[in-house]
């Protein structure tokens, strides 16, 4: 320990340098796209020239962009709600399982590691043969599947900090399990549930792979619209739309960070 502490001042500079380089590498794409949203050029060409809000104006007033934003919002919101309900339920259930808990936990996380292309293709083929085509409803279900593990992990972490004797105490005081869940466990992890829900929404909102396969051509979501626009024309409105997505993601992550940094009720 002492050796480590002594070595820290000497190595700190290097660690900081490497950290900054990694950060730059991760942020470089944003640095490339964001300025282009304000370019006065009619084309999506680097470097940007001048400064204008007109591309945001275009995105927010064009019915095609508007529609895709609405589609994304609607799908992501519904998927996040489904993921929150199922993920939270799964976390509560796994807490009550003793035999094979680890296997169950891993299974719950499977959608996180499964290739999204496989899931997308599977859903696409299934619904094409059953219903003759796909819809935003199918996309919603698919995205809910992707987002569920996020909620599951977040809520499980919250529950791990809740003293299990609280549930026993509630039972001994005469409450059945639904009441124990509703009055004790859920209130104590409310913050984790909100964090999980926000993360789920953020992931679904800019999810592209499933959306590409499952969104009907007439009902594109925002990421799909950005993709098709980029291949059709090279208007800076694409950069503006991307900036909107980035802005939303950063805001949501900031909210989650604030939620997590404040001391939780469960750590009383």
């Amino acid at each position: 320990m002492d050796a480590l502490r002594d070595a820290l001042p000497r190595t700190r500079g290097w660690f900081t340098l490497v950290g900054v380089l990694i950060g730059l590498f991760l942020l470089a794409p944003l640095a490339a796209v964001l300025p282009l949203a304000f370019t006065t050029s009619r084309y999506l060409v680097f470097p940007p020239v001048g400064f204008t809000w007109q591309w945001f104006d275009t995105v927010l007033s064009d019915p095609a962009w508007q529609g895709s934003i609405m589609n994304s919002a609607q799908v992501a919101l519904t998927a996040a709600v489904i993921a929150t309900v199922t993920g939270t339920s799964a976390a509560l259930a796994v807490r009550r399982v003793f035999r094979g808990r680890q296997i169950l936990r891993t299974t719950m996380l499977a959608p996180m590691v499964m290739p999204q292309l496989v899931l997308a293709l599977g859903l696409y083929l299934t619904y094409k043969s059953i219903a003759g085509g796909t819809s935003l409803a199918v996309l919603t279900l698919g995205q809910a599947t992707l987002a569920m593990p996020l909620v599951f992990v977040t809520v499980s972490a919250g529950l791990a900090a809740v003293d299990p004797t609280l549930s026993l105490a509630a039972q001994s005081l005469g409450h059945r399990w639904p009441s124990v869940v509703w009055r004790i466990e859920l209130p104590l992890v409310s913050r984790s549930i909100i964090s999980g829900a926000i993360l789920a929404f953020a992931v679904c909102f800019d999810e592209a792979v499933l959306a590409f396969f499952l969104a009907p051509p007439a009902q594109q979501t925002l990421p799909v619209k950005i993709w098709t626009s980029a291949s059709e024309n090279a208007s800076p409105s694409i950069a503006a739309a991307s900036a909107l997505v980035i802005g939303l993601a950063v805001t949501l992550l900031a909210v989650v960070a604030v939620l997590r940094s404040r001391p939780g009720k469960e750590t009383a």
Binding site: T165, L168, A170, S172, G174, S179
Partner: protein, 354 residues
């Protein structure tokens, strides 16, 4: 209001280990019983089976004659005081205490009244709106006790109720728990590993070892007449002196012991130190003399014996000095003789099942 409890041959196996091995115990209504034993003796498991938290493997638990084995925990109407209190951190003191009343669908006005009464019982009147985090450890325990008693259960279970408190508070709470138990008349079962605590609170002490009940009796009974060596050494300080042919080996005394063969259990307060030799004394030398407030604890080395004899000398005056030559007498009428073998309990710890 209060209930009696009967354990009939209660057995619990957990993941292949026998935790409880055929416990039989009758607990009369309105009594205060402590389950006393070293850790791993099965006392907490007994409590958890009674509360419905642990599934039994065999035997039956009856409350007022009715088996409760298939009654779920929430329907048992038993007050449980957890070692860490298990107060709900997101609720105020009042909400915590009202929690069992909500489950019983008691109207709000009546609820408020009962909460206030419970807080008076534990001497925290008017604390309803306080947050749990603003309370001291002792106050938290009182709130937890109020919550466990507010619905007037027939049975109150206390799991190491005083373990988390500092020594001074612990002694005050022992008497407090006893007072509340007498005031409410609730049958109470407390688990503890502290023998002083067990004896000062209880009408009946049940001593457990290795998943079995070793002895049940009043505090005086188990202290004066331990059933075997385990009880004798676990409960209080004891000099263990071999007895053969009705005589305590190496000591002189008039009359003979209650049993001819075995180990004589002699409490330190039953050994006397005399300045002059007499026909019932043996000589010895003071090896250690420690003042402990209510007594001098004196170790006397007697020739021909491996272990020193421990003697309690009343605290008045000056105590025996180290190195002093003394004469030791044992009151033969207070000697309780137990079998020399390990005793009645035969099961080694954690017998594998099957």
């Amino acid at each position: 209001m209060s209930v009696n409890v009967t354990f009939e041959n209660l057995t619990v196996d957990l993941s292949g280990n026998r935790i409880l091995d055929g416990v039989n115990l009758d607990i009369p209504a309105g009594s205060f019983v402590t389950l006393l034993g070293p850790s791993g003796s099965g006392k907490t498991t007994t409590l958890n089976v009674l509360a419905g938290f642990v599934e039994r493997s065999g035997g039956t638990v009856r409350v007022d004659g009715r088996p409760i084995d298939n009654v779920p925990a929430h329907a048992r109407n038993i007050g449980f005081l957890f070692q860490n209190y298990a107060l709900f951190p997101h609720m105020s003191v009042g909400e915590n205490i009202a929690f069992p009343l909500r489950a019983r669908k008691i109207p709000a006005a009546k609820r408020k009244e009962m909460v206030a009464e419970a807080l008076r019982l534990v001497q925290l009147p008017g604390m309803e709106s306080r947050s749990i985090r603003s309370l001291s450890g002792g106050q938290q325990q009182r709130v937890a006790l109020a919550r466990a008693l507010v619905f007037k259960p027939g049975l109150l279970l206390l799991d190491e109720p005083l373990a988390a408190l500092d020594k001074q508070l612990r002694e005050a709470m022992q008497l407090e728990l006893k007072r509340i138990q007498v005031e409410t008349g609730t049958t109470t079962i407390a688990v503890t590993h502290d023998q002083v605590e067990a004896m000062s609170m209880a009408d009946l002490v049940a001593i457990m070892d290795k998943g079995r009940l070793v002895q049940v009796g009043s505090p005086e009974e188990v202290y004066r007449c331990p059933a075997n060596l385990f009880v004798a050494t676990f409960l209080g300080e004891a000099n263990l002196l071999p007895v053969s042919g009705g005589r305590v080996t190496g000591f002189r005394h008039n009359g003979s012991t209650s049993r001819d063969e075995g180990i004589g259990v002699v409490r330190p307060e039953d050994v006397l130190i005399r300045p002059e030799a007499a026909d019932d004394t043996v000589p010895g030398r003071v090896e250690l003399s420690v003042f402990q407030g209510n007594r001098w604890r004196v170790s006397v080395r007697c020739p021909g014996r491996d272990a020193p004899v421990v003697v309690s000398v009343p605290p008045g005056g000056t105590g025996p000095r180290i190195g002093e030559e003394v004469h030791v007498a044992i009151g033969v009428e207070r000697i309780h003789v137990v079998p020399a073998s390990a005793g009645t309990q035969v099961s080694p710890e954690a017998v594998p099942v099957r």
